[in-house]
Symmetry: C2
Subunit: 341 residues, 2 copies
Amino acid sequence: MAKRSNAKVTTHDVAKRAGVSQPTVSLVLSRNPKARVAEGTRERVIQAATELGYRPNLLARGLVRRKSFSLGLIVPDLKDPFFADVASGAERVASDEGFALLLCDRRGNGSLRHIEALRGRQIDGVIIDAAAAAALPAGALDGLDVVLIDQPDGAWPGVASDAESAGRLAAEHLLGLGHRRFAFMGPAADVHTFRMRERGFVKALRAAGLGLEASLLRRGPATVTGGMESMRALNALSAPERPTAVFCANDLMALGAHKQCATQGVRVPADLSLVGCDDIEMARLVTPELTTVSVPAREIGARAARLLVDPRTVGGVATPRSRMLPVKLVVRGSTAPQQAR
Amino acid sequence: MAKRSNAKVTTHDVAKRAGVSQPTVSLVLSRNPKARVAEGTRERVIQAATELGYRPNLLARGLVRRKSFSLGLIVPDLKDPFFADVASGAERVASDEGFALLLCDRRGNGSLRHIEALRGRQIDGVIIDAAAAAALPAGALDGLDVVLIDQPDGAWPGVASDAESAGRLAAEHLLGLGHRRFAFMGPAADVHTFRMRERGFVKALRAAGLGLEASLLRRGPATVTGGMESMRALNALSAPERPTAVFCANDLMALGAHKQCATQGVRVPADLSLVGCDDIEMARLVTPELTTVSVPAREIGARAARLLVDPRTVGGVATPRSRMLPVKLVVRGSTAPQQAR
DNA sequence: TTGTAAGCGTTATCAT
DNA sequence: ATGATAACGCTTACAA
């Protein structure tokens, strides 16, 4: 008969009930391989444990094993669907492997403070977005197992998508549709992924003998608002100067641009083709649906967590130079062949 | 000179350096009020601690204090913007109060398994969505400090929005626009919030002498897909049977319905007025923008966390019967006066 | 194979 | 005011 009182059941309780010593209980219940314990004892212990509803105290275990079986995750903003996906993927892996995921949203407190809190909890590793890591004072991550989100190289290992290809795919798609006058919108911040998306886009244009004028390179935050403002600026250009196709650093910006066009009566894709990047769920909900480059956000989160959880890769030893995750162009309704004007 | 080696600094190290005993260090560094320690000693300890870069081990502290300073958060799906908001609000409060937030996504593993994992980590409380709590076997939450998301009454305290008013506001808005033929779409699941939104809507219609025919009550999951399917069913009705206004259990459904109308060429709001509920960011990105009832998701998460963090309310003692959080109608472009047909 | 003893890094209860 | 000493619940040698 299962007893389920509030008082926590410890290995001592189980030991007493099974008529063995406390460490024997520990041996049976926790240690996997070299637990050489008599079959009879083992059974009695296990039965006693289940009868009492024993549940190991992971704090105590962590204290002695010097491992907390928990991961920190620092994201710029949980409301950004891209990072919600990353979190979802990381949570899945962590949970499957018996790790807790300690969530930190930079919108609330600065990442430095989060890092300190995570240290105190003896986390086994931390997943952090590249922008936050870059903004941290030197040494803030010393002694921590770190995996960066969507940044392949740098001081720490990272899990990344093939951002340069993303930009190239967008450019090639638009070039194939006959466009010749392009704009790009994205943040100026030194975030690897955005930089590479931009670079891939520009390189592909160059390869086609085209360039990107300064007035058609709009700098702004990679948010809905940033997209709206950048789009407004583009729409304010005189007709001949205006681009016929725009690539946005991410879908949030693209959706902002999309909305701005709707507001101002600019027809997408008739007047303007729009390409985003990430393929968040929202991209399919607007009309016309957003053409975008799909990035496996959930998989990025999952792999990041796996790097920190897998005993073969922790500690930076034998960290496989993580190959980039492939991206894929998803053609929807926001792009169309260029019309003669 | 700050020393920042990898070896963790303990109270023993600090004690040695400050020339005091280890418990004295603890007294100075942790205990707040009744720490009666000489000013000189205190200063030496603090200086030694900063010099060594001491950081308390929260696992050890938790073990003896029998408190982990951590909260569990169980959500059905982080990608649902409503719950991303809840998480964001909860994280903010938790972080501010020195608590960690352990994130659990039910999409991954079942909530029972998550509960068990959280128990092992000695969490001080758990925030869980009402649907998950309802699906749990009896006793699964015994001995835990629980706060339900968006469910005011029941076995555990909850933080909720005024869901019945939400439904009423939607109905009154549509009635005021002259609509007389209504539909509702929402899940059949026994989730309090959705039930109350529906009830408030139906009651307000009744008060106006109107009812809701069975064919105009569409059951489906509160997701984008659910909204699309329900909308398709409504659009399949013969013209006279078709509603002129639809209230959706949440914005995800409403956006699905919105999209479905766009796909099928049903004009919103000319042919059909659409009202959602929650006011997620996405609601402003579609065209026409979605009229909806704004629900303070972030505040719900924040209050839930505060209930578990505030020493005055933990343990179920003196839990203030949390008054409902107010909701607000936000009129946008998806609703319009009923046209003569 | 199993029990004894020690220790993980704290906090808490005493003496002093 | 401060220092021994003993937990907290567990893992890990090391003995027996």
